[in-house]
Symmetry: C2
Subunit: 266 residues, 2 copies
């Protein structure tokens, strides 16, 4: 693989950034290649790699998503927007609604022709045990929500800009979250408008977490007793969450294709 150049595209969704690889076979996407590409100093630099794979069905594409360390990931609300934007920008899909294959199953997306926000079906939330989250002795009640992955949502954490998320917050009940949990801290900015910071399990604080924004809005809607579109401002930008009558959660947000190129050089 490393002797011939491969085509890449770099993009981001609310500052969660990815390298899209349109022409790489699964067998060639080694852990070493992924780590080399994602290194922010010696490679191109990204949070993960999105390999484009044709599905068996006519005109369908599967998003083979890998984290920067090479590990396999199920899906990602930010990554799938970048993937969908790439498919349209590259002429592989027409604008409008189409399906992207993921390890979580087929996922419907809507890509407007004008470059506006992309909407992704994020699945149906499940309740998890409620609990408590602690930072430096301060603690808050937290709502447990699964969006395929587990979340504890602090509905009213006050001014979230002051929170120290450089370390793992404490949480309970620990035995309900044996594989760890993503923790969202919300600040109420107005009607149906939240500011959110998130600590992702195994990662630390991130600029954006699509499933976390979904869990946050779902928890807020449950507490308010009504479903309505919510704006969720994350450090990397603004997401919009809706929760349809059929229980499907919809995530809308920007996705930008930044640059294209050849790797390695020469």
């Amino acid at each position: 693989m490393r002797s011939a150049s491969i085509r890449f595209v770099k993009g981001h969704g609310t500052q969660n950034d990815f390298v899209v690889l349109p022409d790489v076979a699964a067998a060639d996407l080694t852990t070493e290649l992924i780590q080399s590409i994602c290194d922010r100093r010696t490679g191109i630099g990204a949070d993960g790699v999105l390999r484009v794979a044709a599905t068996g069905e006519a005109g369908g594409y599967f998003m083979d998503y890998r984290n920067a360390d090479g590990s396999v990931a199920e899906t990602c609300g930010n990554g799938i927007r970048v993937f969908a934007r790439f498919l349209v920008a590259a002429g592989l899909q027409e604008p409008g609604e189409f399906v992207v294959g993921t390890r979580n199953g087929p996922c419907a997306v809507v890509v407007p022709a004008d470059g506006g926000d992309i909407t992704v079906e994020m699945g149906t939330p499940q309740r998890l045990p409620d609990g408590k989250v602690t930072i430096d002795g301060a603690s808050w009640p937290a709502t447990g929500i699964s969006m395929g992955n587990p979340h504890l949502v602090v509905l009213d954490a006050g001014a979230v800009s002051g929170l120290d998320l450089t370390r793992q917050p404490g949480y309970e009940p620990a035995d309900s979250y044996p594989d760890g949990v993503n923790i969202e801290f919300l600040e109420l900015l107005g009607d149906h408008h939240l500011r959110m910071r998130v600590h992702e399990r195994g990662v630390g604080e991130t600029r954006s977490c699509g499933s976390g924004a979904c869990a946050a809005a779902v928890a807020a809607m449950e507490a308010a007793g009504e479903r309505a579109p919510y704006l969720v401002d994350v450090p990397g930008g603004r997401l919009v969450i809706d929760w349809r009558a059929d229980d499907q959660v919809l995530l809308s947000g920007p996705a930008v294709v930044v640059a294209s190129g050849e790797y390695p050089f020469g």
Copy 2:
């Protein structure tokens, strides 16, 4: 500028990374464009931009070096190696010795045809006032050296891996360094072999600092009373410093061209 795509090349020297822009006119290299390109989430990501400019002389190139914030920089021992590697990789210069124009003046470089370490003339060191450096109550004597920019070198800081460089170390005499100072902490690994960590003024700890490695080796040679090639291991790799009889300091180290492409996409 932003409506048409521009060609770019990304490269790094001991993990100090740069975007080389071969085809951009000076007037088009706006602060906004530089900041957009260098953003590690929403752009390509780099410590700085190296614009390629033809000099008046036949076959000569000037390195128009800008920091990631858009500010003008004089030169950079790591950047000039990446710039020189690019010129050879792109066929703009033959391997061997040639001159690169910088804001510090013409600079002789040697680029081996085999891709090995590139050697750069870094100028003549000047002595600055010696002083003292302090971290968390621990203090060390420090040797003052100018390599065009000011350095305080701690010749024997013990095991440098344990130092906390997340904050600005204290230093004196402060009035001798009114514009701040780069501070190098050395650990003696063997004869003519140093490990170095560096706190760069206005930046914080970096993976590598070419002029800092030069200042470190010069201070060590002065203390030892002999000139000899020194290996300087920085977090981002290994540099070799020599100090010629004509007082010119030579910096040798790796430079890698990583990827090429078009920015923005489409």
